[in-house]
């Protein structure tokens, strides 16, 4: 029983002693993080731009942000609002604006072109980033190749199938030999060879209408197919 009382006393003393400093630490942490919010916002907005432009813009805006909040020492809320107002509005800055402002055009290597050389401006991360870029480029190159292959395959297949049907249309099945028996077919005046062919095909004289019109066209009397029976 005495031990429990002792423990409670020690714990309450510790809470009384440390609660305030700990709370203050949290407050300070929150305050610092809040004061950095405009910088974070600037960085987020700059993420929309290509990397070679981004660094320049972040440099300019961060330096300007310091000037924006320079006369608000001791006014944390005013400082935060002024910084946020400056940073937030930069959202209206477009990619085209960024290119015009910095004069840096997009340098995206073409997948078919040579691989870019290792950059020498960024010693620590340069090689790593370069490896990532090469890998990405190789991947896009593979994609390009795969797409080209599929395209050629589709075209080839479509051509093959089309040619097959074309052949079947131009030189259709026909019976060989002179044939036997006789059928009476009436050809009306003005009826085309194709129409006659259809009739003959229906009666089983020729294998298909197209075969008849082919035969009519190739025979010298084809033009002079006369009406009658």
């Amino acid at each position: 029983m005495r031990l429990t009382v002792m423990t409670a006393a020690v714990v309450s003393l510790a809470v009384a002693l440390f609660s305030q400093p700990i709370t203050e630490m949290f407050h300070e942490e929150i305050r610092t993080r809040l004061s950095r919010l405009p910088n974070a916002l600037i960085f987020l907005i700059a993420l929309r731009f290509p990397r070679e432009i981004r660094r320049d813009l972040v440099d300019e805006w961060t330096a300007e942000l310091l000037a924006v909040v320079s006369d608000t020492e001791g006014l944390p809320v005013t400082r935060l609002l002024a910084g946020l107002e400056y940073a937030w509005d930069l959202y209206r800055f477009r990619r085209a604006d960024a290119r015009m402002l910095t004069g840096i055009r997009r340098r995206r290597p073409h997948p078919g072109g040579p691989l870019p050389p290792l950059p020498d401006d960024d010693l620590i991360w340069g090689a790593e980033r370069h490896a990532v870029r090469i890998k990405r480029l190789e991947r896009s190159r593979a994609t390009l190749l795969a797409m080209a292959t599929v395209f050629v395959w589709v075209i080839a297949t479509a051509g093959g199938v089309g040619y097959h049907y074309y052949l079947a249309y131009v030189t259709p099945p026909n019976f060989s030999g002179p044939g036997t028996g006789s059928v009476v077919v009436q050809i009306k005046p003005g009826q085309s060879a194709t129409a006659v062919g259809d009739r003959l095909a229906a009666l089983g004289v020729v294998a298909s209408a197209r075969a008849f019109s082919n035969a009519a066209n190739s025979s010298p009397e084809g033009e002079a197919l006369e009406p009658g029976t």
């Binding site: 440099d59 300019e60 961060t62 330096a63 300007e64 310091l66 000037a67 924006v68 107002e85 400056y86 940073a87 509005d89 930069l90 959202y91 209206r92 800055f93 477009r94 604006d97 960024a98 015009m100 402002l101 910095t102 004069g103």
Partner: protein, 107 residues
């Protein structure tokens, strides 16, 4: 030339050879950052403004180098000419005295 561009150029022409900061121009023109920077970008792209890194030693000054803008020689010329043309266009017409003064009101 839009009025906003004219406003920025006017600010530069006040002292054609001075260098200006972005925030400085925001305060002078009253434009928010998202409006001012695209205008500066267009002027830089057109060759009227030059954008440079401020020549300071950041470790000695205790702050990063800012970007400064100033008019190019061509910029001074074009800005002056275009602002004059614009102000002539926008000058209000001379008042029609016969309509302003009532009939026989000339005393």
């Amino acid at each position: 030339m839009t009025l906003a561009v004219a406003r920025v150029l006017r600010e530069f022409l006040a002292d054609p050879w001075a260098t200006r900061y972005g925030y400085d121009l925001m305060r002078a023109t009253g434009f928010p950052s998202g409006k001012l920077y695209p205008l500066l970008a267009k002027l830089v792209d057109a060759g009227l403004l030059l954008r440079e890194k401020e020549q300071i030693d950041p470790s000695r000054e205790g702050r990063p180098a800012r970007r400064v803008y100033r008019l190019s020689d061509r910029g001074v010329e074009i800005a002056r000419r275009d602002l004059i043309a614009l102000s002539e266009q926008l000058a209000p017409p001379a008042p029609d005295l016969a309509r302003v003064l009532p009939e026989g009101g000339g005393a």
